[in-house]
Amino acid sequence: MSTRRRLITLFALVSAAGISAFIALWLWGAPMLGVEGMVSQEYRRTIVSVQAVGDKERDLVENWFDEVRRQVQIFVSEESLVRTLQALNSASPKQAFLVREGLQRRLDVLKEISPGAYASLQLVDPDGRILASTTGVTKVPDAYSEWLREAAEPGMSESIRIFRSASGPMAMVIRQMMQTDAQGYPTGVLQALLVAEIGLATPLEKSELARRQALGETATLLLVHRSADILLKQSTQQSDADSAALAGSVVSGTEGTRVMATPGGKEIVAVFRYLHLGASDELSIAVSRTTQEAKAVVRDGFLRMAGLMLALFALSLTLVVFAANGIERAEAQIRSINATLEERIAQRTVELASSNEDLKKTLLDLAQTREELIRTDRLAALGSLVAGVAHELNTPLGNCLTVASTMQHQNEMFGRSMAEGLKRSSLERYFDQAREGVDILMHSLQRAASLVMSFKQVAVDQTSENRRTFDVLDTVKEILMTLGPGLRKTTHRVELDVPADITMDSYPGPFGQIITNLINNALVHGLRDETAGVITLRVHREGSSRVIVMVSDSGCGIPPQNIERVFDPFFTTRLGQGGSGLGLNIVYNLVTKTLGGQIHVSSPPGSGAIFTLTLPLVAPTLATA
C-alpha cells in the first residue's frame, strides 16, 4: 500500500472515530464526569419546563380555590346572615318564605361575584333540609347526605369534598354556621350548613392556552382523583389510553416527575403535583408533554452538527489528499536521487583521490621549495660573508699594493741615483723609505693574514655543524666582523653586553647563523624606518647550565597580530621585496633542534622587538651527528 493510500486511510479512520466520539459526546455527554450532552440537556429542559408549568397550574388552582374558600368563609361569618337564620326558627310560614327568598338572593349575589366559580350554593339546616339554593333544588341528593352528616359534627367548622359532576370536577366546601348568643358569642349549636359546589375546571380553562404555548401542542393536563379517576382532561392529542396510563401512575398524595412510555408508544415527561385544597388529599394535578419536541431539537441539532462535521471532513480530506500527493512526489524524487547516489559517490571519490594526489604533490613541491629556499638563504649568507671578507682584505692588500708600487718607484729612483752616482744621503733616504715600506707591508700582510684566519674560522663554522667548545664573546665579535661591511653602510650600530667568561660546548656555526639572522632581521624589519637605530646583544648566564642571549632593537617592533606567526615558515611582511619568510623559521629550528634551547619573542608597546634565547651551555647531542 502506498504512503498516499495509507495516509488517506489512516485519516479516514481517525476522522471517523473522532467524529463519532465527538457526536456521541455532544449528544449524550460523559455522565460519569458530570458532562451533559445534548440529549440530557433537552430532556432536562423539557423536565424543567413541565415542572414549571405543573407548579404554575397547581398554584393557580390553589390560589383561586383559596380565594373562593375565603369568600365562603366571609359569607358565613356575616352576623346579619346568622341573625336571619336564627330568625327563621321563630318565623311564621309566610315570614319564613320571605326570609328564604332573602337568603336566596344573598346566595345569588355571592355566586355572581365570582362568575364560573360556584356551580351551586345551598343553605342546609342540620336536618338536611334545603333552606335556600341557587339551583332551585329542594332536596339534598342522597349521595351528599353522608358528607353533610359528617360536616355537621361538632368542631368540623369546615369540610371539603372532591367529586366529579356532570359539569366537571367539583370541590364541595361545607361550612358550619353556628348559633350565637345576644353578645354574638357562638353557643356551639349548629344553625345551618353552607354548601358550595366549586368548579375546579374554571381556572384551568383560562390557563390552557398559555400552557400550550409553553409546552407545545402535546401539552396535557389531568386532574386525577385518588382513585385514579380522571376528573378533568385538557389535551388535544393525548389518547384516552395514554391518559389512563398517566393517571394510573399518579401516586395519590405525592408529587414527583417521571419520564414514562405510554401504551400508545409515546415517551412523555409527566409532573405530578398534589392539589393542596385545604389539605385535602384527594386530588392531584398531572401535567405532561411528549419528548418528541426534545427529540426533534436533538435531531435537528444532530443533522446540523453532522452536516458541519461532513463539511469539515471533506475539507480536511481534500487537504490530506493534497498533502499526500505532495508527499508522493517528494518520495519519487527521493527514490530517483537514491538511484544515482552511488554513482555520484564513486565519481566524487575519484575526484577526491585525484585531489589528494595533487595535494600530496603540492606538499612535496612545497617541501622541496622550502629546502631550496633554505639553501638559497644559506648561500646568500655565505655570499654576504664572502663580500665582507673581500671588503676587509681589500684595505691591507691595497696598502700593500700601494707600498709595493711606491717601493718599486723608489727602487727605480734609487737605481737611477746609483747610476748618476750614489750619495750617502740618497742611500740613507732609500733605506729609511724601504724600512718604512716593509713595515707597512708587514703590518698590512699580518692584518690580511689575521682576517683570513678569522674568515676561515667563521666560514668553517657556518658551513658546518661542527661541535666544539667556543668562547661566546669571541664568536660574537667574529660574527660582527663579518657583518661589519653591511653594518657600516647603515647609520645603525650594534651594542654588545657580553661577559668574557662564557664558554659553550655547542655548535658555533648554527649559533653564529642565529645571531646573524636576528641582526639582519632587526636591520631589515625593525630598523627599517629608523635613522640611528641600536641593536643590543646581551648575554648572561642563567644558573650553571644555561645562558640567556637577548637580541633587541630600538625599532618599530612587531604588530600583535603578527607576533604569534613570526616563526612560521614563509611568513613575511616583505613579500616581493626580497623577504623569503624563512629567516626566523631557521632561527627557531636551530635554537630548538640544533642547540636544544628555547626562543621567545616579545614586542612591548613603544619599543622594538626582543628575541630571548635560552640555551644550554652544553648542547644536546644531535641525533644525526
Partner: protein
C-alpha cells in the same frame, strides 16, 4: 507493636461504647418526677406547626387560671423529636404530648392515650438538588429519620418507582442536620417533614421536593390522666382549640405566635432558627389553620382511617407487634374531648383570648 495495635483498637472501641452508653441525654436533666399537682407537657419547639399550639398554650392565661382553680400547674418540657417523648408518656411522666404520626402510634402501642386533636396535616418531602426524578436516586445517599413519617414517605416513594430500600444508600440523620448536609453534598437527598424541606427550598433554588407524602401530627393525652382528671384534660383541649381559633381570628395573631415559636426554638436550641417568621406563618396557615375541620380528628386521612397506614408500616418494620391493632387505634382516636369543647364554646371559652405578652 503490630501485635498491640488490635488490642489498643479494641480497648479504644470499648471506651467509646462505654462513653456513649454513659453519655447523658439532653432530657435526662428534666424534672419529670410524677407530681399530682403538676401537668407535664412534652412539646417539640422545632416541629412546625405543632410548636405554634404549644407556644400559645404556654402563654394562655385562661388555661393557667382554669388549672389553678383545680389546684394544678402546667410544666412544659421541650424535646428534639417525638420518639424521645414516647418513653415518658409510657412511663406516666407526661400528661400531654405533641407528637408526629409515628411517635403517636408508637405511644399508643406502648400505653393507652387519647388523641385530643389534629396538630398538622401536610407532607413529608423527599428533597433533592441534582436529581429531578425519584428514579435518579438509585444508588444515591438519602438521609432519613428511621421509623418516622419521613421514613414511611421515603418507602412509599421508592415503592412508587419500583425500588426498595436496598436500591439506595440510607443515611440516618437528625432532620435539623439535613439541609446543611444536602448543601455540602454529603448526601444526595433527604426525606423529612416540615420545616426542614422549606428551609432547603428557600435556601437554594436548585433544591426541589421531588416526592411528597401525607404526614400528620397529633396532640395526645395520657388516658390515665384524662380519665383521672377529665376537667383538667378538657381545659387542655379547650386551650388547644382556643389557640387555633385565636390564630384564625386575625393575621396579627399568627405573626405574634410565630415570633413566640421562633423565640422558644432559639431558647431551646441556643441557635438561630433558620426559618423566617414569614415561612413559619406560611407553614402554620397551610398545614393547620387552612386544614378543614382542624383540630377535630378527621374521619379519614389519605383515604384511610387516620394513622392506619402508619400502624401498618410500623408493624411491617417490626416496631409494633400484632397485639396492637386498628381497634386500639380507633379507641384512642375516639376520645370526644374536642367535640365536647367545640359543642360548648362558651363554657370552655374557646373564642375568648387572654395571652401573656
Amino acid at each position: 507493636m503490630l501485635f498491640f495495635r488490635p488490642v489498643l483498637l479494641t480497648l479504644f472501641a470499648l471506651l467509646l461504647i462505654t462513653t456513649n452508653a454513659m453519655a447523658q441525654e439532653y432530657f435526662d436533666k428534666y424534672d419529670l418526677t410524677p407530681n399530682p399537682r403538676m401537668i407535664d407537657i412534652a412539646v417539640q419547639p422545632m416541629a412546625y406547626p405543632l410548636a405554634f399550639i404549644s407556644s400559645i398554650m404556654q402563654r394562655d392565661r385562661l388555661l393557667q387560671s382554669d388549672l389553678k382553680a383545680m389546684g394544678l400547674e402546667l410544666r412544659t418540657h421541650s424535646f428534639r423529636k417525638g420518639n424521645d417523648i414516647v418513653k415518658f408518656v409510657g412511663d406516666g411522666k407526661i400528661e400531654m404530648a405533641f407528637l408526629g404520626d409515628m411517635p403517636t402510634v408508637n405511644t399508643m402501642a406502648r400505653t393507652p392515650v387519647d388523641v385530643a386533636g389534629l396538630g398538622k396535616r401536610n407532607f413529608s418531602s423527599i428533597v433533592s438538588r441534582e436529581y429531578g426524578q425519584l428514579e435518579s436516586l438509585k444508588g444515591k445517599r438519602i438521609a432519613y429519620s428511621a421509623g418516622s413519617s419521613s421514613h414511611l414517605v421515603l418507602l412509599r416513594g421508592l415503592k412508587a418507582t419500583k425500588m426498595q430500600e436496598t436500591d439506595v444508600v440510607l443515611v440516618p440523620m437528625e432532620p435539623s442536620a439535613m439541609p446543611d448536609a444536602l448543601e455540602a453534598g454529603t448526601i444526595d437527598a433527604y426525606s423529612a417533614w416540615e420545616p426542614t424541606p422549606s428551609i432547603s427550598l428557600a435556601r437554594n433554588p436548585k433544591n426541589r421536593a421531588i416526592y411528597r407524602g401525607m404526614s400528620t401530627d397529633w396532640v395526645v393525652l395520657s388516658r390515665e390522666f384524662s380519665q383521672k382528671n377529665p376537667r383538667a384534660a378538657l381545659a387542655l383541649v379547650a386551650s388547644f382549640a382556643r389557640a387555633i381559633n385565636w390564630m384564625r381570628a386575625a393575621a396579627n395573631n399568627v405573626d405574634r405566635a410565630a415570633a413566640w415559636v421562633i423565640a422558644d426554638g432559639e431558647a431551646f436550641t441556643a441557635k438561630t432558627v433558620l426559618v423566617t417568621l414569614r415561612q413559619a406563618v406560611d407553614i402554620v396557615r397551610k398545614d393547620l389553620l387552612e386544614v378543614p375541620g382542624a383540630p377535630a380528628v378527621p374521619a379519614k386521612v389519605d383515604g384511610l382511617p387516620p394513622l392506619s397506614r402508619e400502624l401498618e408500616f410500623l408493624q411491617q418494620i417490626g416496631r409494633i407487634g400484632p397485639e396492637f391493632g386498628i381497634a386500639q387505634l380507633s379507641q384512642s382516636l375516639g376520645y370526644d374531648g374536642m367535640q365536647k369543647v367545640q359543642a360548648d364554646p362558651k363554657t370552655f371559652r374557646v373564642f375568648t383570648y387572654d395571652y401573656l405578652p
